[in-house]
Structures are given as structure tokens and as C-alpha cells.
Symmetry: C2
Subunit: 323 residues, 2 copies
């Protein structure tokens, strides 16, 4: 696995190349505003709507960069990953666009809708038991059998360079931002944002927002080294994964602060966005707005980019149905 | 009431003047597409997203045109209407922007959220009993007491000219449309669309879409005269009202056909749009897509504008929660 390769730190040139490579396969997503929410926040918020992205999430940027960056010989054997979330969808989408195989290892307990969506994009699923040991064993087997290229959901420089194209668009769409805030799970989007803005607009503050109930990045940031949570549980299910060495590099070097919010604050912010902005987004994507509303003094009067990371939500299981 | 004034038929010049008048107070809403839904429909669909409009619906166009078209003396006494839906919100918004009173007669049984929203925009509510006789008596009293200008939700030439600005934007945003489809209740949006397109692009077919369970416009269209439903019941609660003389003029003169759909088809189309396009819209706004999917042969290969009329939905009472 690439986890054991020497750590290559991508540069802004990698982001530019990624952007050229993936442009035919992604949307340049719109930036939306809400005067009502601005009034609540006491700041000017610019929502970068990756919920409108292909495959429904920003992850398609990194996945496309990895897939379309492969040489033809390597591409022919396909790509592989383990994920039950947006990365699996996105890698399947990217591989489908290139016409190469995509192998996804997913727990057999993953929602049928997710499995259907991966298969809908042409991904081939190998099921594992819902444990880390089973996932690793099954994945190693798939990798050995197929020779497919492993594309990690976030701890991969190609993926991070791809995610960096989002902040590049945002910086082009909205001038004079004072800050950008994004949710943090494994740190792929935050790392890409750091990579781009530290080069393009180094004065822009970068905040990461995280659930209280999955606050490993917050604790890592305060401690100065990676701390992994043991089985975090949050409605923001995209944010349960821990930082890894490459994302830790960016988070520890470029992030201004990490802000945490409660489950109730996440659901309230999610509902507020749906109600006022009329857009469908995931619980994870509401975490930044929840953090802005909880920390008004940090953002007062500022122009703040807010990354809305994705819109793949189960409409039959909205968090306020059970909250 | 203006219902008894001689019938003035607005012209496209009225739409142009309306557009100049209301431009500072409305959004030029975006047009979104979905390759997935296009594939299902076998047509190219262009969704004109009035769910992103100020006050959450297209109704603000007509309301703003009526409010900002008043001379100062008339405006000083304010405007009035009876509505428990988007027109009440929109008129309150428009009046608030002009700084004049807005009197809204609403049944005391209307949802608290609607009342709060009207008051949030500065509207003053007078409650009536949930019957036509009570509404008319209470409204007559409000009108006599305040001298406010009545703005009917749709049977008013100023309102229709305002709604016509939506199709004017759409025709500017998307070239070479073959058809436009909009939901029909009282017929304000459809009339405005007819008014604009019959002048700007008379070759474009205009379809109206209606719930089976509130198919008075369909039956009127087939019969050649207005037929009002007796207490229609549909999840598309914006579409329960009947045609009136002015909207009948446009519907009978310019509409190509009226297509009806079942409740289940409406809910399915609504969920499809939420899931695939990641936008929040009302049940009424899903009726056109339901009609397109049900009548593929009518729209096959065509470029079709679909008016997404509004996004004011109760997130705690989504139709598939009980369906």
C-alpha cells in the first residue's frame, strides 16, 4: 500500500495539473449566499456547493485526479479502495469515465443504497465483515488478485492535489476572502485547501470544523501529534476517520484553528441550510456553519468561504426524523 | 375588489416594465440540469430554480410588481391579500422592501410556521375561520378599514406580468427551447409564461402540469370553460385553487396541453429531484417533472424548460414520511 511509500508532499503545481486533468469530468460548482444566514452569523458567508458536484461530493476531484493521472498500462489493471462512503462512489465514477475497472471493498452491512450507487457507476464490490481486520485482509486479497492501484480516500498526494482544486475555484469565484472553513474527517479537503491557499492566498485563515463526538483532529491539533479516536459516533458520518501522516502535515502546518460542535448544533445548522438555502447537503457539510454560528466572535464581519462537501444523504433517514 | 374591474389583458411591454421594476428586489435564479434525469426522461431538461427566489418562490415576482407599481399615495395605505401560502409571504416581503403595510387574511388553522414567516417579513395577519364565507367577510372588513390595495394571488394583471419575467429570464438563459412546462393551480405562472413566450418565442410549446386530484384546469381546458373543483385534495398544496377569468384567458389561448399526474408520481418525482439535483423544492414543483416522465413520447428529444416554482416546504412533514 502507498501508506508505506516515502511521503511526497504535493505542491501547488500539482493542483494546477490536477485541475487541467479533471476539468472535463467535474463541475465548477456554484457559490451560493444567504442574506438571512449572514444576518445570523454577523459575517458574509460564501457556500461552495460541492453537493452539486458529480457523484454528489468533492471527493470526485481527488478520485478523478488519481484515475486520470495513471499511465495507460497501470490504468488497465484498474483502481481499488476500501470505503463505504463518497470516495467509493467517486472512484467508481472516475474509473467509469476512463473505462477501467474499479474494485471497492465494502462491509456487507453497508446500506444497500450505497452499494447500488457504486454499482450504478460501474464499481465492482467485494464485501468484507464490518471490522478493520476483515477489511484489511479482504482488501489485500483484492489488491493481490487484481494488481489494481490503491487510491486511499485521503492520505494520497494525488487525492489531496485534486481536492485542492475546490479552493482554487472558490478563490477565483469570490475575491478577498478572509477565511475558509471546511469539515474535517481524514483531512483530505482541509489539506487540499491548505495546499492551494498557502500558495494562492496565504493571508486567508483556514478553519476546520469537527463534531465533538469525533474530535480526534481537534485533540491531535492541540496535542501536536495524531490521536486516533476509538470508534467515534456522530451524525456526520463522513467525519469519523482519523488523520494520517500526509493530511497531518497540512493540518499541523496551515490550519488556524479547529472548532468543534455538538450533534444538536450540526442538525440545527443542517436544517437551517435546507430551509433557507433550499439545498440538500449531508450532515458533515453542516458542521462548518454550526461552528461559525457557535463562534461568532471569530468570524464577525469577515468574508468566509464555507465548503459544502457533499449532498449524498438518505432522504428516508434524515437526522431530524429521529432527533 | 379588482375581480369586478374591467378585464385588462397585460402585454409583453408590461412584462418588460415589470422586470425593470422588480429587478432590484428579486434574484435572477439559476437554471440547473441533471444528466441522470435527462437520461430517464429522454429529453434535455432545464430547471428554472425559483425555489432559490426571494421568499422562496416565484410569487415574489408578481407581488413586487404590484407593490412597486403603486403610486406613492396609494402605496401609503398598503396592500392586502388573503392567502395562506407563498403569495402571502411574497406580498409581505415586497411590502417590507417598500416600507408599506401588508395585511394578510389567513385561516386561524394555518400552520404556525407560515404565520411566523409572514410576520418575519413584516406582514400583519388578521385571522379568519377556515371557510370561504369567513375569509371573504374578514377580508372585506380589512379592506374597508385600511383602504389597502387588494393584490390577488394570480387573477391580477400586475401579478401575471410579474410572473412573466421568469420565462423571460429562462428564454435568455437557455436558447432554443422546444417547450416549457409549469405546474398549474390558479394559473398565474402559466399565464405569465404564455404572455412572455407568445411574444418572445411563439414556437415554444407551453405545457401545464396538474395533480389528478386537483384537475380542474385540465377539465376546464377540455371543456372550454372554467370548471372549479369542490375541495380538491393533493400533496401539491399550492395547486388547489381554481382558474379565474384572466388566467383562463391565457390558458385557453396559449397552452398546448395540460397533463395530469397521480399523488404517488408527484412524490416520486419530488424525491428524485431532491436526491439527484440536491435541491429542496415543494411538492407542487415536482408536478411538471412527474408529467414529463409520464409522457416521454411528448417530450422525447426536446429541450424543455421546467419551472421549479418554490422551495417552501415543511421539513418535518415531508410527503414520503407518511407516504
Amino acid at each position: 500500500m502507498k501508506d508505506h511509500a516515502p511521503l511526497y508532499i504535493p505542491t501547488y503545481d500539482d493542483v494546477i495539473r490536477a485541475h487541467e486533468r479533471i476539468a472535463p469530468h467535474i463541475h465548477r460548482t456554484p457559490v451560493l449566499t444567504s442574506s438571512f444566514i449572514d444576518g445570523m452569523a454577523g459575517a458574509s458567508l460564501f457556500f461552495k456547493c460541492e453537493n452539486f458536484q458529480k457523484a454528489g461530493a468533492f471527493k470526485v476531484r481527488g478520485a478523478c485526479n488519481a484515475v486520470f493521472g495513471l499511465d495507460d498500462e497501470k490504468a488497465a489493471t484498474g483502481v481499488a479502495t476500501h470505503s463505504s462512503g463518497n470516495h467509493a462512489l467517486s472512484l467508481s465514477y472516475a474509473a467509469g469515465r476512463r473505462g477501467i475497472p474499479c474494485h471497492v471493498v465494502m462491509p456487507r452491512t453497508a446500506p444497500q443504497a450505497k452499494k447500488d450507487a457504486v454499482r450504478g457507476y460501474g464499481g465492482e464490490i467485494t464485501e468484507c465483515d464490518p471490522s478493520t481486520s476483515s477489511r484489511e485482509a479482504v482488501f489485500a486479497d483484492v489488491e493481490a488478485r487484481t494488481g489494481a492501484e490503491f487510491v486511499h480516500p485521503y492520505n494520497d498526494w494525488r487525492v489531496i492535489a485534486g481536492q485542492g482544486t475546490c479552493a482554487r475555484e472558490l478563490n477565483d469565484q469570490i475575491r478577498d476572502l478572509d477565511a475558509v472553513i471546511a469539515p474535517i474527517g481524514g483531512g483530505g479537503m482541509v489539506s487540499g485547501t491548505c495546499l492551494t491557499l498557502s500558495s494562492l492566498a496565504p493571508h486567508v485563515e483556514i478553519y476546520a470544523a469537527e463534531p465533538d463526538q469525533a474530535d480526534d483532529a481537534y485533540r491531535s491539533f492541540k496535542a501536536g501529534h495524531i490521536i486516533a479516536d476509538d470508534a467515534p459516533d456522530t451524525v456526520a458520518d463522513g467525519l469519523k476517520v482519523p488523520l494520517k501522516d500526509l493530511t497531518w502535515h497540512f493540518v499541523s502546518s496551515n490550519v488556524t484553528d479547529i472548532l468543534t460542535v455538538s450533534e444538536a448544533e450540526i442538525v440545527e445548522a443542517m436544517k437551517l441550510i435546507w430551509k433557507r438555502m433550499k439545498i440538500v447537503m449531508e450532515p458533515s457539510s453542516a458542521v462548518p456553519l454550526a461552528a461559525v454560528l457557535k463562534n461568532r466572535e471569530v468570524f464577525a464581519g469577515k468574508r468566509v468561504g464555507v465548503i459544502v462537501t457533499g449532498g449524498n444523504v438518505d432522504l428516508d433517514r434524515l437526522p431530524w426524523m429521529t432527533a
